[in-house]
């Protein structure tokens, strides 16, 4: 009886802290990830991120695009509290990356998959690698086993559980890296150029998995990429240039900003390029054509 009483008090306290965390100082409901006036510099001379503010809601699928050196990867590390902002604040689910005791709460919630699959795998057996994260959190053995099952199933790699990652393809290795992150049961999956070293097939696999996680498990997806065609179907696009957020909008809105995109050093999808050229030559096509299929449909509608 005494124990259940104690548990009840804890439960109330837990609920209270969860609710309190969900609001900011002014009492407004907070987004899952909230960056406010964040700046960061590696060498204290030039800023990799300049006065950047953005917010990402729970369950959203957003993309960050930008050219090399635009601060994309720095942003990924900020989301995950791998680096602390020099100015401003990064708040994830109510936890601030400024506080040392919050670091692991943030890292638990935000999983990052990096560019090179090879350099993320710690162990020589797939299941040992997936177990690495949960082991760090001090989770019980049986629960770790369940998490490995879950994580490998989520990336369709159950058959490789006892294999060595050495002989897998790049795409498969990256799937293992994703599984290693999923074993921590994160709310947010950040893909930091996770597809850039893969062949087209591997890229498709990884994006498909992110899509599936978002749809089936409600995982928030942040895809950081310089392949602009990947942003089709995303909810929000953040366009980065020299560490600054220069644009934020839906993919359709983004693709209308042809000059802005090109000034960022990015290349539009081929279908959009062709549509734009046709429009310039007087063929009446609607705005926001992103895929070849859509271009084909619109062309067939013409008389």
């Amino acid at each position: 009886m005494r124990y259940s009483c104690k548990n009840f008090v804890f439960l109330i306290y837990y609920l209270y802290s969860q609710i309190a965390n969900a609001f900011d100082e002014k009492g407004g409901l907070m987004a899952l990830i909230e960056l406010k006036n964040v700046s960061f510099s590696y060498d204290k001379k030039t800023d990799a991120i300049k006065n950047l503010s953005l917010s990402i809601e729970r369950g959203e699928k957003v993309a960050v695009i930008g050219h090399n050196g635009s601060g994309k990867s720095t942003l990924a590390k900020l989301f995950n509290a791998l680096i602390k902002p020099d100015g401003g604040s990064v708040i994830v689910d109510g936890f601030s990356s400024d506080k040392k005791e919050d670091l692991f709460e943030i890292r638990k919630r935000v999983g990052v998959v990096f560019q090179n699959p090879e350099n993320q795998l710690v162990a020589s057996i797939v299941e040992d690698d997936v177990a690495f994260g949960p082991e760090n959190l001090g989770i019980e053995r049986e629960e770790i086993g369940k998490r490995i099952d879950f994580a490998l199933k989520s990336v369709d790699m159950e058959d490789f559980r006892f294999r060595s990652p050495e002989r897998l393809s790049g795409g498969q290795k990256q799937r293992i890296a994703i599984a290693g992150v999923l074993a921590l049961k994160p709310e947010v999956l950040v893909l930091d150029e996770a597809t850039s070293m893969l062949d087209p097939k591997g890229r498709k696999e990884i994006l498909g998995i992110a899509e599936k996680l978002n749809r089936e498990q409600g995982t928030t997806i942040i895809n950081i990429t310089h392949y602009i065609e990947e942003i089709v179907g995303y909810k929000k696009i953040f366009l980065l240039k020299d560490g600054e957020l220069v644009f934020c909008g839906t993919p359709e809105e983004t693709f209308k900003k042809v000059d802005l995109i090109e000034s960022c050093g990015l290349i539009l999808p081929r279908a959009t390029q062709i549509a734009n050229k046709l429009k310039r030559n007087g063929i009446p096509l609607p705005d926001g054509i992103l895929t070849e299929e859509r271009l084909l449909v619109e062309l067939c509608k013409l008389k």
Partner: protein, 272 residues
């Protein structure tokens, strides 16, 4: 580059595979002791050690050709030390002489003795690495080194460093191959010239390799941090080492081997 199989795990479900890793490390050490105990002039002890290896290999379900491929990595050292013994051992009766070269019976004996000894040790050690995954070896070592915690030796960190090093050996080996090809494509010459010239030609391979290794280390550290790594504090282990009856059998068999070797030595009237 790729066919150096020394230290590569050969996964299978067998009696030997299922032994506890720390036990296997102890047994390997005991096996090496047994090999060293074999008396110099009576090789029967070696036969016993070899028999032990054959039986273990059969029990471990490892193809016997694997044993040969593990030896390939050390052929140079073996030949080198054997040649040294044959030509420079001056004890014993001279059985062959030509100009300044004198070969003695003791030299030939010792050469064979050393060759067999090295080969047995290498095969024995690679049996350990064939049947035990690097992670298990690192865990086993961690367990064995545990007492050192008393003197504040960072046992967990040491084991992790080891397993990561093992994990990256094949990766870096592939990388070396790639860099060599890339430098060859740029006209680098690794095959001609004397040994100094060839060693110097390796510099354009080693420097990119080193740089990339550092970059990898950086990225790996980030990836580990991102997965909540915080040292050994409150860390749990998914794979728990368990001791079972099988381990006792392992100890008994090896105890038998050592006893056998000592007996054989004694049988021929010479005590080591």
């Amino acid at each position: 580059m790729k066919d150096i199989t020394f230290g590569q795990y050969f996964p299978a479900k067998s009696f030997v595979h299922s032994l506890n890793a720390s036990v296997k490390i102890l047994l390997t050490i005991a096996f090496i002791v047994a090999v060293f105990l074999v008396n110099q002039y009576y090789f029967l002890g070696f036969a016993l050690c070899f028999l032990f290896i054959l039986i273990t290999t059969a029990f471990a379900k490892i193809p016997f050709t694997k044993l040969l491929s593990s030896v390939r990595a050390v052929v140079f050292i073996v030949v080198f030390s054997a040649v040294l013994q044959v030509f420079f051992n001056k004890t014993g009766k001279v059985v062959f002489s030509w100009r300044f070269i004198k070969i003695t019976d003791a030299g030939v004996y010792t050469a064979i003795y050393i060759t067999v000894r090295i080969l047995l040790i290498v095969i024995g050690a690679s049996l350990l690495t064939y049947t035990t995954s690097p992670v298990e070896i690192a865990d086993g070592l961690e367990f064995l080194l545990y007492p050192l915690k008393v003197i504040r030796f960072p046992v967990h960190e040491f084991a992790l460093i080891m397993s990561i090093a093992l994990r990256f050996i094949p990766t870096l080996m592939n990388e070396t191959g790639r860099i060599i090809k890339a430098q060859k494509a740029r006209g680098a010459d690794f095959e001609s010239g004397n040994i100094f010239k060839r060693a110097k030609a390796l510099i354009p391979v080693l420097i990119p390799l080193l740089i990339s290794a550092f970059r990898r280390a950086d990225e790996l550290a980030d990836a580990m941090d991102a997965r909540c790594y915080a040292g050994s504090k409150k860390r749990t282990k998914y794979k728990k080492a368990t001791f079972s009856f099988r381990d006792a059998i392992g100890f008994i068999t090896l105890g038998g081997l050592i006893a056998g070797v000592v007996l054989l030595n004694g049988f021929f009237g010479v005590i080591v």
